[in-house]
Every structure is written in C-alpha cells, then in structure tokens.
C-alpha cells in the first residue's frame, strides 16, 4: 500500500460483438507519490485497456479487484470526477473533435477541473497567456491553439497536444499511453522534458511505452512488464535495456513456469 495509487487484483472484460472477452486478468500495481513508473509489454497485452479502466471508460466492465487513488475508491467515480481528482490520460490515439476550437476546448476543460477543485476559473485573457507559453515550451506552432481539436494534426502534433493538455490540467497522476510513438528524436526530447517539468513530490506518472529511448530521458523509478493482462515482472530502470536486448521471451517463459 502506497496511499497514492494502488491497483489490486484488477480484472476487466469487454463485450466484443456479444462475446465477453477477459482482458485484464488480475493486475497488481502500486505507485507511490512522486514516482514515475513505466509499463512495457507485447502488443495486445492490455496496457491501453488498463489506462482506459483507470480513466473510467464505460465499455470495460470491471469484474474483480480494486483501485484506490489518494484514498478514494477510483472505480466508483465518473470519468470527469477522476479528472478533477487529478488523473490525466494522454491517449494512445487522441480523438478528433471537428469544429471545436482547441483553445476553447482547453479552456473549458481547465475551468471545469478548476471549478471542481475549488479554484478560481481563468478568464480568456489569462488562459490564453498560460496556454501560449505552455505551447511554446513544447515547440508547438502558435496556430495549433486556433485549430480544431486534433483535426488534421500530424501524429506527432497530436501527441504534443496531449502533453499540452496535461501541462494545463495540472494532474497529480498522469498516464501516458505510448506518447512517444510517432515522435521524431527532437520531439521525443521535448515531450520528455514536458513530463520532467511536472515532476515533483506531488506528481506521479505511469508511462506506457515500447521504446527504451523515452526512458533514457525520463528515467523511471520502476519498470513493469505486462503480458496477457497481468504484471508479470517488475524491476529498476535497467530493465529497459534488458528488454531492448532480449525481448519479452524470458519473462513470458518465467511467468508460464510460475
């Protein structure tokens, strides 16, 4: 028990065309305050599913287990309540909102969480100032704020936009689902710096990735290996190199033997 994020025995399934499909099969994971953890694992092992379940997506049915977030029963909360409580998810595939101005969307979101957190809302001027500065830090083109949310954004631009949202929403816990995929080397560094800027004793993160490179910039406290809906191995930051060299075969074999 860490008193920050504790996932225990989490099982979840989805109704795929009338067939119940078990995806998470007993996930145990704890993240203490102020730590950055990484999850690595083969395609289809349930990493994104875990992030969706934590964020409260309704099409996944939780069948067993519990999640406590800063002392609250996370699974009993609506998605927007989780956001207000400080949870942020950077989507593996960010969603397009046609006709919705990016700055307007961001301001609506920021003020929604500020309201819920008992903070003053930001007026348009104050917000734009903050948003422009944050966009600049992420080397985003100034017109990105004026465009429609994610519509026509390149893969890399979408990922940066997720990090921009994260910065402005000031989460205490961020899940980054393959935010590094599709980024060029420079962008990768910029995004990693964006996360590093948030690091503090009151900010934790769960970084889902396939690549060791991100973890070079974002040195995590722990790395977990996920396979077939379970965390099958955990270790220190050095685990990333090992996975890079050897792949997952050994962990899978060990898990099968256990």
């Amino acid at each position: 028990m860490t008193q920050f994020l504790d996932i225990s025995g989490l099982c979840a399934r989805i109704d795929a065309d009338g067939q119940e499909k078990e995806i998470l099969k007993g996930v145990d994971l704890s993240i203490p305050p102020g730590e950055v953890h990484a999850i690595m694992g083969p395609n289809g092992s349930g990493k994104s599913t875990l992030s969706y379940v934590l964020a409260g997506r309704e099409d996944y049915e939780v069948t067993a287990g519990s999640v406590t977030f800063q002392g609250q029963d996370l699974l009993g909360m609506e998605p927007e309540e989780r956001a207000a409580a400080g949870l942020f998810l950077a989507f593996q595939s960010p969603i397009e909102l046609p006709g919705v101005n990016n700055a307007n969307f961001l301001r609506t979101a920021v003020n929604a969480v500020r309201r819920a957190r008992g903070q003053d809302e930001l007026d348009a001027v104050a917000f734009l100032k903050t948003a422009r500065a944050a966009a600049k830090d992420l080397s985003m083109a100034p017109d990105m704020l004026k465009r429609n949310v994610n519509v026509g954004f390149s893969g890399g631009e979408k990922k940066r936009n997720e990090v921009l949202q994260m910065t402005l929403l000031e989460p205490s816990f961020a899940i980054l689902d393959e935010t590094d995929s599709g980024l060029d080397v420079d962008a990768l560094r910029i995004v990693a710096e964006g996360v590093n800027r948030l690091r503090s004793p009151s900010f934790s993160a769960l970084v889902i990735t396939h690549h060791q490179r991100l973890l070079d910039y974002l040195v995590p406290d722990r790395i977990h290996v996920m396979a077939q809906g379970r965390i099958i191995h955990s270790g220190g930051p050095e685990l990333a190199q090992q996975i890079d060299r050897e792949g997952y075969t050994r962990f899978l074999a060990e898990a099968a033997a256990a």
């Binding site: 964020a55 409260g56 997506r57 309704e58 099409d59 609506e78 998605p79 927007e80 989780r82 956001a83 207000a84 942020f88 998810l89 989507f91 960010p94 969603i95 909102l97 046609p98 006709g99 919705v100 969307f105 609506t108 979101a109 920021v110 929604a112 969480v113 819920a116 007026d123 429609n148 949202q165 929403l169």
Partner: protein
Amino acid sequence: MPAVTETREAVEKLGQSSYKWGFETDIDMDVAPKGLNEDTIRLISARKEEPEWLLEWRLAAYRSWLTMKEPTWAKVSHPPIDYQDLHYYAAPKKKPGPKSLEEVDPELLRTYEKLGIPLHEQAMLAGVELPEGETARPPIAIDAVFDSVSVVTTFRKTLEEAGVIFCPISEAVRDYPDLVRQYLGSVVPVGDNFYAALNSAVFTDGSFVFVPKGVRCPMELSTYFRINAKNTGQFERTLIVVEDGASVSYLEGCTAPMRDENQLHAAVVELVAMEDASIKYSTVQNWYPGDENGRGGIYNFVTKRGACRGARSKISWTQVETGSAITWKYPSCILQGEGSVGEFYSVAVTNNHQQADTGTKMIHIGRNTRSTIIAKTISAGHSDSTYRGLVRVQPKASGARNFTQCDSLLIGDQCGAHTVPYIENRNMGARIEHEATTSKISEDQLFYCRQRGLSEEDAVGLIVNGFCRDVLKELPMEFAVEAQKLLQISLEGSVG
C-alpha cells in the same frame, strides 16, 4: 446589460425545469371571438383602422385559402387543426401604438425583461454602463411583438436620422401606404400556399423595414415575438425592402409560454433586395417545443422568401431552430438579378417528440447567380428531422452555381434524420454540388472530453456546437453566444 447574459440570467432565475421561457403574463387583453370568417377579417381590419385596399387584399387571400388544403407532403404529422377553434386577434388592452417606453404597460416590460430582451435603450447605449471586461458593442433596435401586436420599437429616432424605417407593419400601412402596397405580397403572393394565404387573410402585426438607396443600416434590427394568449394563432407579417447599394442585418427571436394545447403560428416574411443591396436575416427560434411526452408546443408553419431583384444583390438566411413541436419552414431565395447571391445556413435541433421539416429553395433565374446551403440537423430523443431543399436552375441562368452541404448528427438511437434534396437543372452550364453526411456523437469523443474534466452534458454541448460551427459563425456575435447556450439547453438530458 448585453442581451445574452441577461437572457442567461433570466433563464437561471426562472428556475423552470425544461422550457425556461414558459411563464405567462397577466395582462388585460382585447380578444376577438373564436373562429374565422369574413367578419373576423373585417374586425381585424377595422381594429387596425386599415385602408380599404388592404381589407380587399385580405379578403382575396381568405377566399383563396378556402379553396386550398393543408399541405401533406412534409414529413410531419399532427391531429387536424380546427381553424374555427382559434382566436385570430388578441392585443394588450392598452391603445395600440405606444410612442415611448413610458407608455407601455409595465407588466409587459417586465415580461421582456424576464426574457432578457433589453428594451431600455439607455442601458444599451454602447460604452456607458458596461460591466468590467465587457467591450462596447453596437446597440440593437428592437420591435417587440406581444401576441398580435407590436408593443414597442426602440431606437426609432436614430434610425430615422439615417433614413431607415423600422416600425410595426400596421403603422407602416398608415404612414407609408404606397411602400407597403407596392411590396406587400410581391414576394409571397396571397395564394402562395395554405399557410401563407391564411396569414395574408388574418395577419395582425409584424415588422416593416425600409432601407433607402446607399444606406447601411447603422445598427442591427431585431424583432422579438412572444405568444402569450391562449388558443390564439399568431400570424405576423414581416416585410423588409432594401434599395440599391443599401444593407441591413435583421434578427428574429421567439418564445411562448408552456401550454398543454398546441398553438398555431403561421408567419410570412418577405425580403426584397435591389441592386447591390444585401440583407442578412437571422433567426433564433425557440418556441415552446412541448413537454417530453410530446404534449403541447407550437406548430410553426412559416413562409419566408427573399427576392434578389437587383444585380449583385445578396440575401442570407441564418437560422437556429431549437423550439416548436412542429417546424415547417423553407426560407428561400429567388435569384433574379444577374450575379445575385443566396445563402442558407441552418441548424435544426429536435429532441423528445419534436418534428422538423425544414430546408430551403434556391431559384436561379439570372445569369451567374450563386447559392450556398449549409444545413446541420441534430436529432435526439424520439424526434424526427428532415432537411428538404430545392435547387432550381432556370434555362437562362448560365453560369449558375450551387453548393449544398447537409450534415446530420444523431444522439441516441430512437431518433431519425432525413435528407431530401431536389435538384432541377435546366441549364447545362450550371454547376451544382451536393454533399451529405450522417454521424453520431461517438463514445470516443464523449470519453475524451470527460477524461479532460467535462461533464457529459458539457461534452455534448461542445461537440454539437462544433458540429454547427459553420452555421453559428454566420450569426451576429450576440446571437451566436445565445444560440450556443440554447443548443445546449435544448439537448439537456438527451444522453446517458
């Protein structure tokens, strides 16, 4: 205070659950007996002290109405309307035609205040008493129509100085008879259709606008319609004439109290644009839509048509339709002048048991005429919405162009949306493009917004406003903000 915030606050204060403008005003009324016959028409005409020619005009309309049948081609259904069971005239008892705000029944002013309509000119004068952070905005002149009668028109002096006539049509009949006689019925003839004929026979008031040659109207003009009396049909008549090189932007808003019975509303709007003239006509229609079981609500059967008579003239219709139990409405443009331009931007929202059959007609007669149609349809609950649009290109309209885009958004799976385009092209050189899409608000979009902290309702509001953006951006600022809020209010409870 700006109209928008005032409206918003009025809404919140009223605390009415679903339809926020549902209150009734207790006012002494002068009401004609129920029923429609030549005597009713003579009575209306006499009450309004009309000239003989207008009475004859009305009677001709009535006689042609008697030979007509209610149209049945629209995709709407309702129990038969008993036209003998309605009042055709209801007016606040006060002598018609108050000249200034001081003469208006204070109860009436309070009603408009509740609605958030700023009739007090002083408060509207730009830059004077604006709260912090508000920027000065140009004032809006308002003609307030209460049941059958126009109760007050603001800013008349400023407008007169500019040469613009903006007054109740009943007054125009008296003060500018030649103008009215020349243009009334020139775009929508008395026998045009069932509802237009009915309106011509019994119309009681509405607005008249005349912008002379070369004048750009110095402010937005607005009419606010409110039905209050029970079992009363409302039949306004609006006539807007804009001469060579002149322009005007006109706004129309509407509300009605909540009632169990349906109420009939059959307006006619005629626009005339001469050479290089431009008319922008915006509507935010928010009549009472009925309750969630489909009881009550306004039947809105409206004929709106604009004639681009002069070369390079332009008429632009923008409408946001969120109210009424039934909407039957096809604002149209007759593009006669060479190079004239017609535009139609529409958002129609239906929820619960509302029915809307709306669209436009673009009739290309002159050469190089152009038209644009952007229609956004949003259906929720058990509602049913149809876009019906006609683009007709006459043989002489070489170089005519039309672009049509119809998008439907469905919320839930009990509602329907239909697109019925009619294209009649008699000129080989014309270019007509039509695009249509149907979509649903996706779970992905909702979840994405909620993950960012938005409530489900705010998320729907945001997505719907995004969907309507191309239309909303055509509205004057004041109205655009009001319309966005209306969209959200009218879709409340439609998800989850």
